[in-house]
Protein backbone atom coordinates (compact mmCIF):
# COMPACT_ATOMS: atom_id res chain seq x y z
CA UNK A 1 0.00 0.00 0.00
CA UNK A 2 1.69 3.20 -0.99
CA UNK A 3 -1.04 5.78 -0.91
CA UNK A 4 -3.49 7.04 1.68
CA UNK A 5 -7.05 6.02 1.01
CA UNK A 6 -10.39 6.33 2.80
CA UNK A 7 -12.85 3.47 2.56
CA UNK A 8 -16.42 3.70 3.81
CA UNK A 9 -17.49 0.79 6.03
CA UNK A 10 -21.22 0.49 5.34
CA UNK A 11 -24.04 -0.28 7.76
CA UNK A 12 -24.60 -3.72 6.31
CA UNK A 13 -21.96 -6.18 5.22
CA UNK A 14 -21.37 -5.58 1.53
CA UNK A 15 -22.35 -8.44 -0.73
CA UNK A 16 -19.66 -9.69 -3.11
CA UNK A 17 -20.57 -8.81 -6.69
CA UNK A 18 -20.92 -12.45 -7.71
CA UNK A 19 -23.28 -13.16 -4.82
CA UNK A 20 -25.76 -10.36 -5.33
CA UNK A 21 -29.35 -11.50 -5.42
CA UNK A 22 -30.78 -10.92 -8.87
CA UNK A 23 -34.14 -11.14 -10.56
CA UNK A 24 -34.90 -11.84 -14.20
CA UNK A 25 -36.52 -9.15 -16.27
CA UNK A 26 -37.67 -9.05 -19.85
CA UNK A 27 -35.92 -6.37 -21.87
CA UNK A 28 -35.68 -5.18 -25.41
CA UNK A 29 -33.47 -2.98 -27.57
CA UNK A 30 -35.08 0.20 -28.85
CA UNK A 31 -34.28 3.24 -30.95
CA UNK A 32 -33.50 6.21 -28.66
CA UNK A 33 -36.34 8.24 -30.20
CA UNK A 34 -38.87 5.74 -28.81
CA UNK A 35 -37.56 5.91 -25.27
CA UNK A 36 -39.71 8.70 -23.92
CA UNK A 37 -43.03 7.31 -25.05
CA UNK A 38 -42.29 3.74 -24.08
CA UNK A 39 -40.86 4.49 -20.64
CA UNK A 40 -43.79 6.71 -19.77
CA UNK A 41 -46.29 4.09 -20.84
CA UNK A 42 -44.45 1.22 -19.11
CA UNK A 43 -44.21 3.14 -15.85
CA UNK A 44 -47.98 3.43 -15.96
CA UNK A 45 -48.89 -0.13 -16.80
CA UNK A 46 -46.02 -2.15 -15.24
CA UNK A 47 -44.13 -0.02 -12.72
CA UNK A 48 -41.07 -1.76 -11.21
CA UNK A 49 -42.55 -1.64 -7.72
CA UNK A 50 -39.93 -3.54 -5.76
CA UNK A 51 -37.06 -2.58 -8.01
CA UNK A 52 -37.13 1.17 -7.61
CA UNK A 53 -33.31 1.21 -7.52
CA UNK A 54 -33.14 -0.36 -11.00
CA UNK A 55 -32.95 2.01 -13.96
CA UNK A 56 -35.43 1.21 -16.67
CA UNK A 57 -33.07 2.11 -19.51
CA UNK A 58 -29.47 1.17 -20.25
CA UNK A 59 -27.36 2.79 -22.92
CA UNK A 60 -25.67 0.51 -25.38
CA UNK A 61 -23.23 1.35 -28.12
CA UNK A 62 -23.28 -0.88 -31.17
CA UNK A 63 -20.92 -0.07 -34.05
CA UNK A 64 -20.75 3.56 -33.07
CA UNK A 65 -24.52 3.83 -32.91
CA UNK A 66 -26.27 4.46 -29.62
CA UNK A 67 -29.06 2.06 -28.81
CA UNK A 68 -31.05 1.76 -25.63
CA UNK A 69 -31.94 -1.38 -23.72
CA UNK A 70 -35.27 -1.07 -21.98
CA UNK A 71 -36.79 -3.20 -19.23
CA UNK A 72 -40.31 -4.12 -20.25
CA UNK A 73 -41.44 -6.06 -17.19
CA UNK A 74 -40.50 -8.70 -14.67
CA UNK A 75 -39.97 -12.16 -16.08
CA UNK A 76 -42.17 -14.90 -14.74
CA UNK A 77 -40.46 -17.27 -12.34
CA UNK A 78 -42.04 -20.33 -13.90
CA UNK A 79 -42.98 -21.48 -17.36
CA UNK A 80 -42.41 -19.67 -20.58
CA UNK A 81 -40.99 -16.21 -19.99
CA UNK A 82 -42.61 -14.65 -23.01
CA UNK A 83 -46.10 -16.01 -22.53
CA UNK A 84 -46.16 -14.29 -19.16
CA UNK A 85 -45.74 -10.82 -20.61
CA UNK A 86 -48.83 -8.79 -19.69
CA UNK A 87 -51.25 -8.04 -22.49
CA UNK A 88 -50.69 -4.27 -22.37
CA UNK A 89 -46.96 -4.79 -22.77
CA UNK A 90 -47.54 -7.14 -25.71
CA UNK A 91 -49.49 -4.32 -27.31
CA UNK A 92 -46.41 -2.12 -27.12
CA UNK A 93 -44.11 -4.80 -28.47
CA UNK A 94 -46.00 -5.67 -31.64
CA UNK A 95 -46.33 -2.30 -33.41
CA UNK A 96 -42.60 -1.57 -32.93
CA UNK A 97 -41.58 -5.12 -33.80
CA UNK A 98 -39.45 -5.34 -30.66
CA UNK A 99 -37.50 -8.50 -29.99
CA UNK A 100 -37.32 -9.38 -26.33
CA UNK A 101 -34.66 -11.06 -24.23
CA UNK A 102 -34.28 -12.03 -20.57
CA UNK A 103 -31.62 -10.35 -18.44
CA UNK A 104 -30.69 -10.06 -14.77
CA UNK A 105 -30.85 -7.03 -12.49
CA UNK A 106 -29.87 -6.67 -8.82
CA UNK A 107 -32.73 -7.39 -6.46
CA UNK A 108 -31.68 -5.06 -3.62
CA UNK A 109 -30.47 -1.49 -3.62
CA UNK A 110 -26.75 -1.00 -3.04
CA UNK A 111 -25.65 -0.03 0.46
CA UNK A 112 -22.37 1.55 -0.57
CA UNK A 113 -20.87 3.36 -3.49
CA UNK A 114 -18.57 0.41 -4.13
CA UNK A 115 -21.43 -2.06 -4.20
CA UNK A 116 -23.33 0.24 -6.49
CA UNK A 117 -20.45 0.38 -8.96
CA UNK A 118 -20.46 -3.42 -9.05
CA UNK A 119 -24.23 -3.55 -9.56
CA UNK A 120 -24.05 -1.22 -12.53
CA UNK A 121 -21.84 -3.68 -14.38
CA UNK A 122 -24.86 -6.00 -14.46
CA UNK A 123 -27.52 -3.37 -15.15
CA UNK A 124 -27.52 0.25 -14.01
CA UNK A 125 -29.09 1.00 -10.64
CA UNK A 126 -29.38 4.17 -8.64
CA UNK A 127 -27.66 4.63 -5.30
CA UNK A 128 -29.01 6.69 -2.46
CA UNK A 129 -26.58 7.07 0.42
CA UNK A 130 -28.02 6.44 3.90
CA UNK A 131 -30.87 8.77 4.80
CA UNK A 132 -28.84 10.46 7.51
CA UNK A 133 -26.32 12.66 5.84
CA UNK A 134 -22.83 12.50 7.23
CA UNK A 135 -19.99 14.15 5.33
CA UNK A 136 -17.75 11.68 3.60
CA UNK A 137 -20.17 8.87 2.83
CA UNK A 138 -20.33 10.03 -0.74
CA UNK A 139 -16.67 10.95 -0.86
CA UNK A 140 -14.20 13.41 0.60
CA UNK A 141 -12.95 16.64 -0.84
CA UNK A 142 -9.21 16.89 -1.24
CA UNK A 143 -8.97 19.21 1.73
CA UNK A 144 -11.04 16.91 3.96
CA UNK A 145 -9.01 13.89 2.85
CA UNK A 146 -5.79 15.66 3.75
CA UNK A 147 -7.09 16.48 7.18
CA UNK A 148 -8.29 12.88 7.72
CA UNK A 149 -4.85 11.55 6.77
CA UNK A 150 -3.08 13.98 9.03
CA UNK A 151 -5.24 13.14 12.04
CA UNK A 152 -4.82 9.42 11.38
CA UNK A 153 -1.11 9.95 11.19
CA UNK A 154 -1.32 11.65 14.58
CA UNK A 155 -3.09 8.63 16.03
CA UNK A 156 -0.47 6.26 14.61
CA UNK A 157 2.40 8.31 15.97
CA UNK A 158 0.65 8.38 19.34
CA UNK A 159 0.23 4.58 19.29
CA UNK A 160 3.98 4.24 18.73
CA UNK A 161 4.99 6.88 21.22
CA UNK A 162 5.24 4.65 24.26
CA UNK A 163 8.85 3.66 23.69
CA UNK A 164 8.34 -0.10 23.93
CA UNK A 165 5.02 -1.60 23.05
CA UNK A 166 2.54 -0.39 20.49
CA UNK A 167 -0.96 0.17 21.87
CA UNK A 168 -4.18 1.51 20.45
CA UNK A 169 -4.48 5.28 20.35
CA UNK A 170 -7.40 7.64 19.93
CA UNK A 171 -7.63 11.24 18.74
CA UNK A 172 -10.97 13.03 19.06
CA UNK A 173 -11.27 15.94 16.66
CA UNK A 174 -13.71 18.75 16.00
CA UNK A 175 -13.58 18.57 12.20
CA UNK A 176 -15.32 21.88 11.58
CA UNK A 177 -12.62 23.80 13.43
CA UNK A 178 -9.90 21.20 12.74
CA UNK A 179 -8.87 21.12 16.38
CA UNK A 180 -7.95 18.18 18.57
CA UNK A 181 -10.35 17.79 21.47
CA UNK A 182 -8.67 14.86 23.22
CA UNK A 183 -5.96 12.28 22.69
CA UNK A 184 -5.35 9.04 24.54
CA UNK A 185 -3.40 5.79 24.49
CA UNK A 186 -4.58 2.52 25.98
CA UNK A 187 -4.12 2.66 29.73
CA UNK A 188 -4.96 -0.84 30.82
CA UNK A 189 -1.51 -1.67 32.18
CA UNK A 190 -0.23 1.65 33.29
CA UNK A 191 -2.62 4.22 34.40
CA UNK A 192 -1.29 6.99 36.53
CA UNK A 193 -4.26 7.53 38.78
CA UNK A 194 -5.43 11.10 38.71
CA UNK A 195 -4.72 12.42 42.17
CA UNK A 196 -5.21 15.86 40.75
CA UNK A 197 -7.65 15.70 37.92
CA UNK A 198 -6.57 19.02 36.48
CA UNK A 199 -3.03 17.80 35.87
CA UNK A 200 -4.24 14.73 34.05
CA UNK A 201 -6.50 16.77 31.86
CA UNK A 202 -3.75 19.13 30.93
CA UNK A 203 -1.40 16.38 29.94
CA UNK A 204 -4.07 14.62 27.93
CA UNK A 205 -5.86 17.28 26.04
CA UNK A 206 -3.71 20.35 25.89
CA UNK A 207 -0.52 19.12 24.33
CA UNK A 208 1.21 21.72 22.21
CA UNK A 209 0.64 19.75 19.00
CA UNK A 210 -3.00 19.37 19.79
CA UNK A 211 -4.30 22.68 18.60
CA UNK A 212 -2.99 22.61 15.06
CA UNK A 213 -1.58 19.89 12.90
CA UNK A 214 0.94 21.22 10.40
CA UNK A 215 0.48 20.98 6.67
CA UNK A 216 2.41 17.75 6.43
CA UNK A 217 0.16 16.26 9.05
CA UNK A 218 3.14 15.48 11.21
CA UNK A 219 2.61 15.50 14.91
CA UNK A 220 5.67 15.53 17.07
CA UNK A 221 5.81 12.99 19.84
CA UNK A 222 8.34 12.51 22.59
CA UNK A 223 9.71 9.24 21.25
CA UNK A 224 8.56 8.83 17.71
CA UNK A 225 10.25 5.49 16.91
CA UNK A 226 8.82 2.99 14.44
CA UNK A 227 6.62 -0.04 14.97
CA UNK A 228 9.14 -2.67 16.08
CA UNK A 229 9.14 -5.28 13.36
CA UNK A 230 10.81 -8.29 14.93
CA UNK A 231 8.31 -9.63 17.42
CA UNK A 232 5.29 -11.80 16.77
CA UNK A 233 3.69 -10.56 19.97
CA UNK A 234 3.95 -7.08 18.68
CA UNK A 235 0.33 -6.10 19.15
CA UNK A 236 -0.49 -8.09 22.28
CA UNK A 237 -0.85 -4.86 24.17
CA UNK A 238 -3.52 -3.41 21.91
CA UNK A 239 -6.45 -3.66 24.28
CA UNK A 240 -9.26 -3.70 21.70
CA UNK A 241 -7.57 -6.61 19.89
CA UNK A 242 -7.35 -8.79 23.01
CA UNK A 243 -9.81 -7.35 25.53
CA UNK A 244 -10.07 -10.59 27.53
CA UNK A 245 -6.34 -11.06 28.02
CA UNK A 246 -5.77 -8.35 30.60
CA UNK A 247 -5.33 -10.83 33.46
CA UNK A 248 -2.58 -12.78 31.67
CA UNK A 249 -0.39 -9.80 31.01
CA UNK A 250 2.87 -9.11 32.68
CA UNK A 251 2.69 -6.70 35.52
CA UNK A 252 4.41 -3.45 34.91
CA UNK A 253 5.76 -2.69 38.36
CA UNK A 254 6.45 0.92 37.54
CA UNK A 255 2.81 1.72 36.99
CA UNK A 256 0.82 2.67 40.00
CA UNK A 257 -2.52 1.58 38.62
CA UNK A 258 -4.00 -0.65 35.98
CA UNK A 259 -7.52 -0.98 34.72
CA UNK A 260 -8.81 -3.64 32.31
CA UNK A 261 -11.35 -1.28 30.74
CA UNK A 262 -9.20 1.78 30.11
CA UNK A 263 -9.04 1.32 26.35
CA UNK A 264 -7.88 4.33 24.33
CA UNK A 265 -11.38 5.31 23.16
CA UNK A 266 -12.78 5.17 26.70
CA UNK A 267 -9.90 7.31 28.02
CA UNK A 268 -10.30 9.79 25.17
CA UNK A 269 -14.02 10.13 25.90
CA UNK A 270 -13.20 10.76 29.56
CA UNK A 271 -10.65 13.36 28.56
CA UNK A 272 -13.09 15.15 26.24
CA UNK A 273 -15.74 15.12 28.97
CA UNK A 274 -13.35 16.73 31.43
CA UNK A 275 -12.37 19.31 28.82
CA UNK A 276 -16.08 20.05 28.44
CA UNK A 277 -16.49 20.50 32.20
CA UNK A 278 -13.42 22.73 32.36
CA UNK A 279 -14.25 24.95 29.38
CA UNK A 280 -17.95 25.18 30.10
CA UNK A 281 -18.43 25.07 33.85
CA UNK A 282 -21.81 24.19 35.20
CA UNK A 283 -23.72 27.26 34.06
CA UNK A 284 -23.32 26.29 30.43
CA UNK A 285 -25.66 26.90 27.57
CA UNK A 286 -27.60 23.72 28.03
CA UNK A 287 -28.11 24.20 31.74
CA UNK A 288 -29.40 27.73 31.27
CA UNK A 289 -31.93 26.61 28.74
CA UNK A 290 -33.08 23.96 31.14
CA UNK A 291 -33.57 26.38 33.98
CA UNK A 292 -35.59 28.63 31.70
CA UNK A 293 -37.70 25.74 30.60
CA UNK A 294 -38.29 24.50 34.11
CA UNK A 295 -39.26 27.84 35.53
CA UNK A 296 -41.65 28.38 32.66
CA UNK A 297 -43.22 25.07 33.41
CA UNK A 298 -43.38 25.32 37.14
CA UNK A 299 -45.68 28.32 36.79
CA UNK A 300 -48.07 26.30 34.71
CA UNK A 301 -48.02 23.38 37.17
CA UNK A 302 -46.33 21.48 34.36
CA UNK A 303 -48.34 18.38 33.74
CA UNK A 304 -46.62 15.93 31.43
CA UNK A 305 -49.26 16.47 28.77
CA UNK A 306 -48.66 20.21 28.76
CA UNK A 307 -44.92 19.73 28.50
CA UNK A 308 -45.35 17.50 25.53
CA UNK A 309 -47.37 20.10 23.80
CA UNK A 310 -44.94 22.89 24.52
CA UNK A 311 -42.06 20.81 23.25
CA UNK A 312 -43.93 20.20 20.07
CA UNK A 313 -44.41 23.84 19.25
CA UNK A 314 -40.80 24.59 20.12
CA UNK A 315 -39.37 21.93 17.91
CA UNK A 316 -39.16 23.90 14.72
CA UNK A 317 -37.47 26.97 16.07
CA UNK A 318 -35.06 24.95 18.18
CA UNK A 319 -34.08 22.91 15.23
CA UNK A 320 -33.23 26.05 13.30
CA UNK A 321 -31.24 27.33 16.21
CA UNK A 322 -29.23 24.14 16.43
CA UNK A 323 -28.50 24.18 12.74
CA UNK A 324 -26.96 27.62 12.83
CA UNK A 325 -25.00 26.79 15.98
CA UNK A 326 -23.43 23.82 14.30
CA UNK A 327 -22.02 25.99 11.58
CA UNK A 328 -20.31 28.47 13.83
CA UNK A 329 -17.35 27.60 16.01
CA UNK A 330 -18.01 30.02 18.75
CA UNK A 331 -16.49 28.95 22.02
CA UNK A 332 -19.60 30.10 23.79
CA UNK A 333 -21.63 27.19 22.45
CA UNK A 334 -21.26 24.28 24.77
CA UNK A 335 -21.08 20.99 22.90
CA UNK A 336 -23.50 18.18 23.70
CA UNK A 337 -21.14 15.28 24.43
CA UNK A 338 -19.13 14.64 21.23
CA UNK A 339 -21.86 15.65 18.78
CA UNK A 340 -20.21 16.59 15.48
CA UNK A 341 -16.81 15.23 16.51
CA UNK A 342 -14.74 12.55 14.80
CA UNK A 343 -12.51 9.94 16.41
CA UNK A 344 -9.36 8.52 14.85
CA UNK A 345 -8.37 5.10 16.16
CA UNK A 346 -5.42 3.02 15.01
CA UNK A 347 -7.36 -0.23 15.50
CA UNK A 348 -11.05 -0.88 14.94
CA UNK A 349 -12.78 -0.55 18.35
CA UNK A 350 -14.12 -3.52 20.33
CA UNK A 351 -17.82 -3.70 21.27
CA UNK A 352 -17.30 -1.86 24.55
CA UNK A 353 -15.51 1.04 22.87
CA UNK A 354 -17.80 1.11 19.82
CA UNK A 355 -20.87 1.34 22.06
CA UNK A 356 -19.19 3.96 24.23
CA UNK A 357 -18.76 6.03 21.05
CA UNK A 358 -22.48 5.62 20.30
CA UNK A 359 -23.31 6.86 23.80
CA UNK A 360 -20.98 9.85 23.44
CA UNK A 361 -22.54 10.76 20.06
CA UNK A 362 -19.38 10.63 17.96
CA UNK A 363 -20.19 11.57 14.35
CA UNK A 364 -17.56 9.57 12.45
CA UNK A 365 -15.09 6.82 13.32
CA UNK A 366 -11.89 6.46 11.31
CA UNK A 367 -9.70 3.44 11.97
CA UNK A 368 -6.55 2.17 10.25
CA UNK A 369 -6.48 -1.56 11.02
CA UNK A 370 -9.41 -3.96 11.28
CA UNK A 371 -9.83 -6.01 14.45
CA UNK A 372 -10.76 -9.57 13.46
CA UNK A 373 -10.97 -10.75 17.10
CA UNK A 374 -13.36 -8.26 18.57
CA UNK A 375 -14.01 -5.40 16.14
CA UNK A 376 -17.52 -4.01 16.44
CA UNK A 377 -17.79 -1.68 13.45
CA UNK A 378 -17.49 -4.25 10.68
CA UNK A 379 -15.36 -7.24 11.71
CA UNK A 380 -17.35 -9.15 14.37
CA UNK A 381 -20.26 -6.80 15.01
CA UNK A 382 -21.45 -3.79 13.04
CA UNK A 383 -22.96 -1.34 15.52
CA UNK A 384 -23.39 1.37 12.87
CA UNK A 385 -26.07 -0.87 11.35
CA UNK A 386 -27.98 -1.62 14.58
CA UNK A 387 -31.16 0.26 13.85
CA UNK A 388 -32.44 0.24 17.44
CA UNK A 389 -29.59 2.38 18.75
CA UNK A 390 -30.44 6.05 19.33
CA UNK A 391 -27.38 7.34 17.50
CA UNK A 392 -25.49 6.22 14.41
CA UNK A 393 -22.02 7.21 13.34
CA UNK A 394 -20.47 6.72 9.94
CA UNK A 395 -17.40 4.47 9.87
CA UNK A 396 -14.39 4.73 7.58
CA UNK A 397 -11.26 2.72 7.28
CA UNK A 398 -8.15 4.68 6.41
CA UNK A 399 -5.54 2.77 4.41
CA UNK A 400 -2.13 3.96 5.47
CA UNK A 401 0.97 3.97 3.24
CA UNK A 402 3.65 1.51 4.27
CA UNK A 403 6.25 4.18 4.87
CA UNK A 404 4.05 5.76 7.54
CA UNK A 405 3.77 2.42 9.33
CA UNK A 406 7.53 2.18 9.29
CA UNK A 407 8.20 -1.46 8.60
CA UNK A 408 5.17 -2.86 10.38
CA UNK A 409 3.52 -4.29 7.29
CA UNK A 410 4.82 -7.84 7.77
CA UNK A 411 2.95 -8.40 11.00
CA UNK A 412 -0.51 -9.73 11.55
CA UNK A 413 -3.38 -7.35 11.94
CA UNK A 414 -1.97 -5.26 9.15
CA UNK A 415 -3.80 -3.84 6.19
CA UNK A 416 -3.09 -6.31 3.45
CA UNK A 417 -5.21 -6.50 0.36
CA UNK A 418 -6.98 -9.61 1.68
CA UNK A 419 -8.14 -7.77 4.75
CA UNK A 420 -9.39 -4.97 2.57
CA UNK A 421 -11.56 -7.52 0.81
CA UNK A 422 -13.50 -8.02 4.03
CA UNK A 423 -15.04 -4.69 3.31
CA UNK A 424 -15.84 -5.60 -0.24
CA UNK A 425 -13.55 -3.04 -1.72
Amino acid sequence: MDAWQIVYVPDKPPIPPDQQSTVDVIATVIEPRLANTLVRRLNQIVPLENLRHVKRVRKKSVEGKTLLCLILCLASEHGDQFDSIPHEVQELISPHKLSTFVTKVCKYAATSKEEWEEQCKLWPTSFHPPTYSIDGITGFSEEDSRSVFSFMNSAIQLAKSGGGSVVNAAVIVDPSAKIVIATARDQIYSWHAPKDEAILETSCSERPFASHIDSNGVMSCETPGGFPDDSKQLYDDVSCLYPWRWAEQKTDMSSCCWHPLRHAAIVAIESSASRDRRLYPSSGDIQDKLVDMNSAHSSSTGSPAKRQKTNLTDVKSDWKLETCCEGSHSLAARPYLCTGYDIFLVWEPCAMCAMALVHQRIRRIFFAFPNPNAGAVGSVYRLQGEKSLNHHYAVFRVLVPAQVLDGAETCHGQPTSTVVDNYGI
Binding site: T251, A351, V358
Partner: protein
Protein backbone atom coordinates in the same frame (compact mmCIF):
# COMPACT_ATOMS: atom_id res chain seq x y z
CA UNK B 1 -34.74 -15.32 29.83
CA UNK B 2 -36.99 -13.18 31.98
CA UNK B 3 -37.63 -15.32 34.99
CA UNK B 4 -40.86 -14.73 36.81
CA UNK B 5 -40.73 -12.87 40.05
CA UNK B 6 -41.82 -15.77 42.21
CA UNK B 7 -38.71 -17.71 41.18
CA UNK B 8 -36.50 -15.13 42.82
CA UNK B 9 -35.17 -15.87 46.24
CA UNK B 10 -35.68 -13.25 48.88
CA UNK B 11 -31.94 -12.61 48.87
CA UNK B 12 -32.03 -11.83 45.14
CA UNK B 13 -34.88 -9.40 45.75
CA UNK B 14 -33.01 -7.82 48.63
CA UNK B 15 -29.97 -7.12 46.46
CA UNK B 16 -32.15 -5.81 43.64
CA UNK B 17 -33.84 -3.53 46.13
CA UNK B 18 -30.43 -2.05 46.95
CA UNK B 19 -29.90 -1.47 43.24
CA UNK B 20 -33.28 0.28 43.08
CA UNK B 21 -32.17 2.53 45.96
CA UNK B 22 -29.15 3.51 43.87
CA UNK B 23 -31.40 4.23 40.89
CA UNK B 24 -33.49 6.52 43.10
CA UNK B 25 -30.36 8.42 44.05
CA UNK B 26 -29.70 8.90 40.34
CA UNK B 27 -33.23 10.15 39.80
CA UNK B 28 -32.83 12.64 42.65
CA UNK B 29 -29.75 13.98 40.88
CA UNK B 30 -31.58 14.36 37.56
CA UNK B 31 -29.76 11.37 36.10
CA UNK B 32 -31.29 8.53 34.09
CA UNK B 33 -32.37 6.30 37.01
CA UNK B 34 -30.25 3.15 36.78
CA UNK B 35 -28.51 1.69 39.82
CA UNK B 36 -26.56 -1.44 40.65
CA UNK B 37 -24.69 -3.37 43.31
CA UNK B 38 -21.84 -5.86 42.94
CA UNK B 39 -22.01 -8.80 45.32
CA UNK B 40 -19.18 -11.11 46.33
CA UNK B 41 -19.78 -14.03 48.70
CA UNK B 42 -23.22 -12.73 49.66
CA UNK B 43 -21.88 -9.30 50.51
CA UNK B 44 -22.27 -6.01 48.66
CA UNK B 45 -18.75 -4.82 47.79
CA UNK B 46 -19.71 -1.87 45.59
CA UNK B 47 -22.68 0.10 44.40
CA UNK B 48 -23.09 2.52 41.55
CA UNK B 49 -25.55 4.76 39.80
CA UNK B 50 -25.70 6.62 36.55
CA UNK B 51 -23.59 9.80 36.46
CA UNK B 52 -23.69 10.62 32.77
CA UNK B 53 -25.11 14.13 33.09
CA UNK B 54 -22.93 15.19 35.99
CA UNK B 55 -19.71 14.00 34.31
CA UNK B 56 -20.84 14.88 30.76
CA UNK B 57 -19.46 11.46 29.99
CA UNK B 58 -22.19 9.26 28.56
CA UNK B 59 -20.20 6.12 29.40
CA UNK B 60 -20.51 6.66 33.16
CA UNK B 61 -23.25 4.10 33.61
CA UNK B 62 -24.03 2.58 37.01
CA UNK B 63 -22.10 -0.58 36.14
CA UNK B 64 -18.95 1.33 35.17
CA UNK B 65 -19.10 3.33 38.40
CA UNK B 66 -19.40 0.18 40.51
CA UNK B 67 -16.66 -1.61 38.56
CA UNK B 68 -14.28 1.30 39.17
CA UNK B 69 -15.03 1.18 42.89
CA UNK B 70 -14.30 -2.54 43.03
CA UNK B 71 -11.06 -2.25 41.07
CA UNK B 72 -9.83 0.57 43.26
CA UNK B 73 -10.68 -1.38 46.39
CA UNK B 74 -8.84 -4.49 45.25
CA UNK B 75 -5.83 -2.53 44.03
CA UNK B 76 -5.53 -0.85 47.42
CA UNK B 77 -5.45 -4.33 48.91
CA UNK B 78 -2.61 -5.13 46.52
CA UNK B 79 -4.41 -7.81 44.55
CA UNK B 80 -2.63 -8.98 41.39
CA UNK B 81 -4.31 -9.10 38.00
CA UNK B 82 -4.91 -12.83 38.23
CA UNK B 83 -6.35 -12.50 41.74
CA UNK B 84 -8.57 -9.71 40.47
CA UNK B 85 -9.78 -11.89 37.60
CA UNK B 86 -10.46 -14.72 40.03
CA UNK B 87 -12.45 -12.42 42.29
CA UNK B 88 -14.56 -11.11 39.42
CA UNK B 89 -15.42 -14.69 38.52
CA UNK B 90 -17.10 -14.96 41.96
CA UNK B 91 -19.02 -11.71 41.70
CA UNK B 92 -22.64 -11.09 40.76
CA UNK B 93 -24.10 -7.86 39.50
CA UNK B 94 -27.61 -6.69 40.34
CA UNK B 95 -28.71 -3.87 38.07
CA UNK B 96 -32.12 -2.27 37.57
CA UNK B 97 -31.95 -2.31 33.76
CA UNK B 98 -30.41 -4.79 31.34
CA UNK B 99 -26.76 -3.79 30.80
CA UNK B 100 -26.19 -1.98 27.49
CA UNK B 101 -23.85 -3.35 24.82
CA UNK B 102 -20.93 -1.40 26.31
CA UNK B 103 -21.51 -2.58 29.88
CA UNK B 104 -22.30 -6.17 28.90
CA UNK B 105 -19.11 -6.23 26.88
CA UNK B 106 -17.18 -4.78 29.83
CA UNK B 107 -18.65 -7.41 32.17
CA UNK B 108 -17.55 -10.09 29.73
CA UNK B 109 -14.04 -8.61 29.58
CA UNK B 110 -13.84 -8.71 33.38
CA UNK B 111 -15.28 -12.22 33.53
CA UNK B 112 -18.10 -11.59 35.99
CA UNK B 113 -20.01 -14.68 37.12
CA UNK B 114 -23.62 -13.64 36.89
CA UNK B 115 -25.91 -10.71 36.13
CA UNK B 116 -29.42 -10.13 37.50
CA UNK B 117 -31.36 -7.29 35.93
CA UNK B 118 -34.72 -5.59 36.24
CA UNK B 119 -36.28 -4.39 33.01
CA UNK B 120 -35.06 -5.23 29.52
CA UNK B 121 -33.30 -2.63 27.43
CA UNK B 122 -34.95 -2.75 24.01
CA UNK B 123 -32.71 -0.14 22.47
CA UNK B 124 -29.22 -0.86 23.76
CA UNK B 125 -29.38 -4.19 25.60
CA UNK B 126 -26.27 -6.34 25.49
CA UNK B 127 -27.76 -9.37 27.25
CA UNK B 128 -30.12 -10.56 24.56
CA UNK B 129 -32.16 -7.53 23.51
CA UNK B 130 -29.82 -6.30 20.77
CA UNK B 131 -26.57 -8.24 21.12
CA UNK B 132 -25.67 -11.08 23.47
CA UNK B 133 -22.60 -11.19 25.64
CA UNK B 134 -24.05 -13.63 28.17
CA UNK B 135 -23.98 -17.41 28.14
CA UNK B 136 -27.05 -18.13 26.03
CA UNK B 137 -25.19 -16.65 23.10
CA UNK B 138 -26.09 -18.78 20.11
CA UNK B 139 -22.95 -17.77 18.27
CA UNK B 140 -20.16 -18.22 20.77
CA UNK B 141 -17.52 -15.57 20.40
CA UNK B 142 -14.59 -17.55 19.11
CA UNK B 143 -11.65 -16.82 16.94
CA UNK B 144 -9.67 -19.61 15.34
CA UNK B 145 -11.38 -22.13 17.61
CA UNK B 146 -10.19 -20.38 20.76
CA UNK B 147 -12.86 -19.04 23.04
CA UNK B 148 -12.34 -15.31 23.26
CA UNK B 149 -15.10 -13.82 25.33
CA UNK B 150 -16.00 -14.88 28.82
CA UNK B 151 -19.71 -15.29 29.11
CA UNK B 152 -21.83 -14.86 32.19
CA UNK B 153 -25.15 -16.16 33.42
CA UNK B 154 -27.96 -13.70 33.13
CA UNK B 155 -31.50 -13.46 34.50
CA UNK B 156 -33.87 -10.61 33.86
CA UNK B 157 -37.27 -9.40 34.94
CA UNK B 158 -36.41 -9.03 38.61
CA UNK B 159 -38.46 -6.17 40.11
CA UNK B 160 -38.86 -4.87 36.56
CA UNK B 161 -41.96 -2.82 37.33
CA UNK B 162 -40.11 -0.84 40.01
CA UNK B 163 -37.29 -0.14 37.56
CA UNK B 164 -39.73 0.94 34.88
CA UNK B 165 -41.68 3.25 37.16
CA UNK B 166 -38.43 5.07 37.93
CA UNK B 167 -37.80 5.56 34.22
CA UNK B 168 -41.32 6.84 33.86
CA UNK B 169 -40.79 9.42 36.60
CA UNK B 170 -37.58 10.47 34.93
CA UNK B 171 -39.04 10.97 31.47
CA UNK B 172 -41.96 12.85 32.94
CA UNK B 173 -39.60 15.29 34.57
CA UNK B 174 -37.50 15.44 31.39
CA UNK B 175 -33.84 14.69 30.80
CA UNK B 176 -32.19 18.02 31.55
CA UNK B 177 -29.07 17.32 29.54
CA UNK B 178 -30.51 15.87 26.39
CA UNK B 179 -30.55 18.21 23.42
CA UNK B 180 -33.94 19.52 22.39
CA UNK B 181 -35.63 16.78 20.42
CA UNK B 182 -36.12 17.18 16.70
CA UNK B 183 -39.32 15.24 17.02
CA UNK B 184 -41.70 15.32 19.97
CA UNK B 185 -40.80 12.98 22.79
CA UNK B 186 -42.67 9.74 23.03
CA UNK B 187 -43.00 8.37 26.51
CA UNK B 188 -41.75 4.77 26.66
CA UNK B 189 -44.48 2.20 26.47
CA UNK B 190 -44.67 0.50 29.80
CA UNK B 191 -46.83 -2.36 30.91
Amino acid sequence: MASPKEDCSSITLAFMDLAIQQAKLALDSLEVPVGCVIVEDGEVIASGRNRTNETRNATRHAEMEAIDTVLEKWQKKGLSKSETAENFSKCSLFVTCEPCIMCASALSILGIKEVFYGCANDKFGGCGSILSFHSSNSNPVTSGGLPQGKDFKCSGGIMASEAISLFRSFYEQGNPNAPKPHRPLILPETQ
